[in-house]
């Protein structure tokens, strides 16, 4: 591999890795507070993409509310993205209300939340299919405005290409990650969140309103998932109601590799998997699907707690 190709792969990997990261963060937030995987996260990802699409471009009857709005600078797209993500956040809250809270209140086996969230995912995906069919929807290429579709850097004969989408994805991801990182590591909220995560009943004994925190977390998680879905959607189109599923699984690989509950871990995991995929030699691209998992497997054997996860030292 020559230097130019290396650079190209690096850029591709970082861009897709940053989406993996924000998507995975949604998982990791819920995991860190409830200790359980939210299987509906992939469905929220899909939902976010459809919501943003129907706001920004519009079809299936209701949509395009913002599409024909005459606002300068293509403001309607960022607006759609934001509203789409907020609505996804609300969807996250609904998921909590339907699939998590009732179980918590009944003291069910925590693993059961895997099943109930899976049920919500099934409902969401099939309702989308019911309403809008399995067709593919694609964002028009000028959705970001009249920016050139790609930057092409010439290195003699060779070229390195950066697609506009990649830059936007990267920029949005970085902003979101920075905000979230600040929230969790530097505020009282973050500290309380960690307390709830470790032991909800002890946290409530300290005056922390556990239920409200869980609700916030699901909102944030849905927000991030929907945002990631919209970004991927603008980049590659919405490949039907099931398109979040593949990401759902990969997102899991990302957070476990990075270390469950760790925000820098999710970012690192996203980048590692994004890069690993980008650097799969073309001849072996058949095995690309397995790369994320092979990496995960190896990482876990070497560091059972994930790259940045805290090992659970327990004193007896």
């Amino acid at each position: 591999m020559d230097a130019v190709q290396f650079l190209q792969n690096l850029l591709n990997g970082i861009s897709i890795g940053s989406v993996y990261a924000i998507f995975a963060l949604g998982y990791t937030l819920v995991f860190s507070i409830l200790g359980i995987i939210n299987f509906a996260h992939g469905a929220v990802f899909t939902l976010g993409a459809y919501l943003t699409y129907s706001l920004a471009v519009g079809q299936f009857g209701i949509g395009g509310i913002l599409a024909d709005l005459q606002i300068p600078f293509q403001l309607s797209f960022p607006l759609s993205l934001l509203i789409g993500a907020i609505l996804s956040g609300v969807a996250g809250v609904v998921v909590e209300r339907c699939a998590f809270r009732p179980l918590r209140f009944r003291g069910a086996d925590p693993l059961l939340a895997l099943v109930s969230s899976l049920g919500v995912a099934l409902v969401t995906v099939n309702v989308i299919q019911y309403l809008v069919g399995s067709e593919i929807y694609s964002f028009p290429s000028d959705v970001y405005g009249d920016i050139r579709p790609a930057f092409v850097l010439h290195f003699g004969e060779k070229l390195v290409v950066i697609r506009t989408v990649q830059i936007i994805i990267f920029a949005v991801s970085i902003v979101v990650l920075a905000l979230l990182g600040y929230l969790i590591s530097w505020t009282r909220i973050g500290k309380a969140l960690r307390a709830v995560a470790e032991n909800a009943s002890t946290a409530s004994l300290l005056g922390i309103n556990v239920d409200r925190f869980i609700l916030y977390t699901f909102f944030l998680s849905g927000f991030l998932g929907g945002m990631a879905g919209s970004l991927v959607g603008t980049s590659f189109g919405i490949a039907g109601p099931y398109f979040g599923v593949a990401y759902g699984l990969k997102g899991l690989a990302v957070i476990v590799m990075g270390g469950l509950g760790s925000i820098p871990g999710a970012v690192l995991g996203g980048m590692v998997i994004g890069l690993a995929e980008a650097f799969v030699p073309a001849d072996y691209s058949a095995y690309k699907e397995a790369v994320a998992f092979a990496f995960l497997f190896v990482v876990l054997l070497v560091r059972p707690q994930g790259l940045l996860g805290r090992s659970q030292i327990q004193k007896v």
Binding site: C98, V115, N126
Partner: protein, 303 residues
Amino acid sequence: MEEFLQNYGFLLVTLVQQSLLAMSLYFPLSAGQLSLASPGFYALGGYVAAIMATADYFAPWRDALGWAIFPLEWLIAGLVSALLAFLVGVPALRLRGIYLALATIAFVEILRVVCLNLAITGGAIGIFGIPQLFESRWGYIWIFGPLLVITLIFSYRLDRSRVGRAFKAIREDELAAGAMGINPTHYKVLSFVIGAVLAGIVGAMSAPFLNTWNARQGTFDASISYLAYVLIGGGRSLWGPMLGAVLLASLPELLRPLKDARLIINGMVLVIASIYLPFGIAGALQRLKLSTLKRYASLRGGR
């Protein structure tokens, strides 16, 4: 009766088959290990059987053995699964909880992609034209049925034996189990291997049952379904996995009249079942039994 079997024979056998797969998840879970590797071993076992049944290389064997090739397929599928489970299990079972779950999913996915790319597994199309053991689908009950009975007896006896207690101890507190003289690694790997062997054998039996075998047989989705069977059925009871499999695997078929909406309703049932059966079907039955017993006792003038 005959008509009923014609209509529902395949479904009934599928329920038995799914129950077995749920059991394969239950064994590691009874030792506290959330392993989702079953579909991997299921796929592996299926490939073993499919290849032995169709590849030219095995033609002389088939001629020599006749129908006896089938039990041999099961045996070899079981052995291969055991071996692989041991190799994967020893390092992987150092992991806990979700970490282990994901490592096993990783294993399933890697295996799937590899099978998708090998010539011997028939690539994406897979292997087809697998020789049949029985004419009708219902006939397969004669192999899946006994296997389920054996597995249930196995699991019932296990639950009340020294090894079963060791599993439970590890599930409750691995460290304390160690301090009480139980070798956690040994029993964790054992539980994992038992599950893998079962899944492998079920796979080997399923290849002729489904007529064809391909890489879509062992997927992440399947892992999650099996987990749902166990949890909805009741993960702490040996009947749980079977009850869950029967309910959840028959549901999409029962909902057929709903056409487009059937998966929506299916999803809702999952949610509602999780909410109203917090300890699974088996747990709910247990409570029912306890409360009727109590009522009975009070009628009889007990305290």
